[in-house]
């Protein structure tokens, strides 16, 4: 198994009294809440944390993209990947993901990814995402065309990376007379493409297609759902496309906190993990998160039928019990992740070692304990440690 450290780079210094006047940290929280002097410290601290992860033995480090919020401060993960490129030597650098179709010119991102791939000698992994719903508000992109633009941007980027230019790209949303990418990516044919998602059926079916066989990365949620979506990918490969997906196509991201003992881990992490779920995630209106057309009509209908499922008031015990997070001593964390792998068979795990307000000292301790006592055991796991899945069980979902 390959073990990655994944950072959201939240604005952990958020003045929590924001909640008296604002109901969400997304989209409309005034940027007066952002202090650039603190931003300077946080960005550098977070980059240090990812570099430390590489030092203590993680196989890769990872960043992602979000706009206009305190949940994740990387509107351009390319900037962070570039900063990491020169200070690391062996680890993969994974941008999971970049929203190519939120751009009017996806080729600018494709060029930047190719540059990083050249600088790092082929250590880049490219994630392609559609962005979360409220980013269609912040970027002024029409959500009703989200899926088709996403697919077209992907086709454009892959052709630009692999075909000898110049050629004309004649799409519906994108039209360029001269596509001739300098530089070409270092990796041949191009950096691996991953598809991070919260469990969208369209994404799973698209990623699993035999023309792509892209790694599907399930974002953190209750482990029961994680397992269902990862098995859905395997099952789609088997039933829709007639091939057996390898564990190399499966990835999962999960917040993890490790301390000396189970009790200590739980007490240390409590306020910080609860800040992630109760401050940085919740209270986002359905209108903001599910703009029209962003998902299929049937998915929208399900969501609107279950209104008022806003998160909030989540407790660390409950999050652990549902497997949304993994917390404990090195033994507990190691055994839990080994067991999860036995059930779900992911060849890639993305550990979030920092979340919400978790401070620098605890993040560093977490990373060092993970690096010394958990990561090596995970790296030794392979397909032989995976129990497999029942096709019929997955198909019945």
């Amino acid at each position: 198994m390959k073990v990655f450290a994944f950072h959201l780079m939240p604005y952990g210094a958020l003045d929590m009294s924001y909640a008296e006047e604002h109901n969400s940290v997304w989209l409309k929280l005034p940027n007066s809440y952002f202090d650039p002097k603190i931003g300077h410290e946080l960005y550098n601290r977070y980059l240090d944390e990812l570099e430390l992860a590489a030092e203590v033995g993680f196989d890769g480090i990872s960043v992602n993209e979000h706009h206009q919020n305190a949940y994740g401060l990387m509107p351009s993960p390319v900037v962070m990947a570039a900063a990491l490129a020169r200070n690391t030597e062996k680890c993969k650098i994974a941008i999971l993901g970049n929203a190519f179709a939120l751009r009017e010119h996806p080729l600018t991102l494709a060029e930047e990814h190719a540059m990083i791939d050249n600088i790092t000698g082929g250590r880049l992994i490219t994630g392609m995402v559609r962005g979360v719903g409220c980013e269609y508000f912040s970027m002024g992109v029409n959500p009703a065309y989200s899926l088709e633009r996403h697919i077209e941007a992907h086709d454009l980027v892959v052709r630009a990376w692999t075909e000898t230019g110049p050629f004309a790209f004649e799409g519906k949303h994108y039209h360029f007379e001269y596509v001739n990418m300098w530089p070409r990516p270092y990796q041949d044919p191009h950096p691996p493409i991953w598809c991070p998602s919260q469990g969208s059926t369209e994404t799973i079916e698209w990623a699993a297609h035999p023309d792509r066989k892209y790694v599907y990365l399930q974002a953190y949620s209750a482990f029961e759902s994680v397992l269902r979506y990862l098995n859905m990918y395997r099952s789609v490969a088997e039933q829709n496309y007639g091939y057996t997906a390898s564990s190399g196509q499966i990835a999962w991201s999960v917040p993890v906190y490790c301390a000396e003992t189970d009790e200590q881990a739980m007490e240390e992490v409590r306020p910080h993990i609860e800040s992630l779920f109760n401050t940085f995630l919740p209270k986002i209106s359905q209108s903001m998160f599910v703009p029209p057309g962003y998902m299929t009509a049937s998915s929208m209908k399900k969501i609107f039928a279950h209104k008022a499922t806003l998160r909030g008031g989540q407790k660390v015990e409950d999050l652990m019990q549902r497997g949304v997070i993994v917390v404990g001593s090195p033994d507990t964390v190691r055994d839990t992740l080994i067991e999860r792998h036995r059930q779900a068979g992911f060849e890639h795990v993305l550990i979030m070692p920092q979340f919400g307000t978790l401070p620098a000292d605890l993040t560093e301790k977490n990373l060092r304990l993970l690096g010394a006592e958990v990561v090596p055991a995970l790296q030794a796991l392979d397909e032989n440690h995976y129990a497999g899945f029942e096709l019929s069980a997955a198909a019945a979902e």
Binding site: N142, A144, Q286, S287, P291, P292, G293, A297, M300, K301
Partner: protein, 261 residues
């Protein structure tokens, strides 16, 4: 009592759901973002003096979702096809909200089959600093409340138990509206430049308490569309034809009679 026939007609391969009732000069009513709520009393009243047609736009309501529909320009051209195919002449074109925007997009392209234009709480242009309410951002329940002055209308809508089909239509309508009006938000930056091409008598009708498209837009359209008249309807929000049916019908008929005289 619905004195109209309802059928799906074929316009160049696209199935369009059409309500039609009454007789007289043809009148085409173009609905707004939330679609058509049946053959309302206003339609019944207008159909007493007109051959009234109330379609669901393609991708809305019970109409087909054609591949070719990517924006408001496509919809305007489709309605010109509709007018040609139905061989309608001297049409009184009425549009509410997004339908008002559509009516203008049709009229600036070709007025030859039109006899008058009535804009009701129309979207389509932008007054700097006075955006149309962000109907995509608002919670759907809040939106319903903002649309009406008289909250009993909102209560009725919000307390309605929707059938599966009605729920599906609600979602389709939301997606269709995003398709046409997400970016830029419910207007065409180029439309203002071409409004002088509207050569038929134009009536601008607005609810005096419209919280979706500010009444300032009524004055603006009155100013830029040559020879147009503005009528404000008292105690009405964004849907004066629903909230103040009688004054609305009087305003429409009064204007048309004055132009016919």
């Amino acid at each position: 009592m619905a004195d109209c026939t309802e059928s799906k007609i074929d316009i160049r391969g696209t199935g369009m759901y059409l309500r039609r009732g009454g007789s007289g000069e043809p009148m085409l009513f173009l609905h707004g973002a939330s679609g058509v709520a049946g053959w309302i009393p206003t339609f019944q009243a207008l159909s007493e003096t007109h051959d009234l047609m109330v379609p669901d736009h393609p991708t809305y309501g019970l109409s087909d979702e054609p591949e070719w529909l990517d924006g408001m320009e496509d919809l305007a051209m489709f309605y010109l096809d509709f007018l040609d195919q139905m061989n309608l002449e001297g049409v009184h074109l009425v549009g509410n909200s997004l339908g008002g925007w559509l009516a203008m997009e049709i009229a600036v392209r070709n007025c030859t089959r039109l006899k008058s234009l009535t804009l009701v709480g129309a979207a389509g242009i932008r007054i700097a600093g006075k955006p149309i309410a962000d109907i995509f951002m608002m919670d759907p329940d809040d939106l319903v409340r903002e649309i009406f002055v008289d909250q009993s209308y909102a209560d009725n809508i919000l307390n309605m138990e929707l059938t599966e089909e009605q729920l599906d239509i609600q979602i389709r309508n939301r997606v269709a509206t995003a398709r046409l009006g997400w970016q830029p938000r419910l207007f065409n930056p180029n439309l203002r430049k071409w409004l002088h091409r509207i050569t038929v008598p134009t009536h601008v009708i607005w609810g005096d308490t419209d919280k979706i498209v500010d009444p300032a837009y009524a004055a603006e359209f009155g100013k830029i569309i040559a020879g147009s008249e503005v009528t404000m309807i008292e105690k009405a929000g964004h849907l004066p034809h629903i909230e103040q049916s009688e004054p609305f019908v009087e305003a429409v008929s009064g204007f048309l009679q004055s132009k016919a005289a």
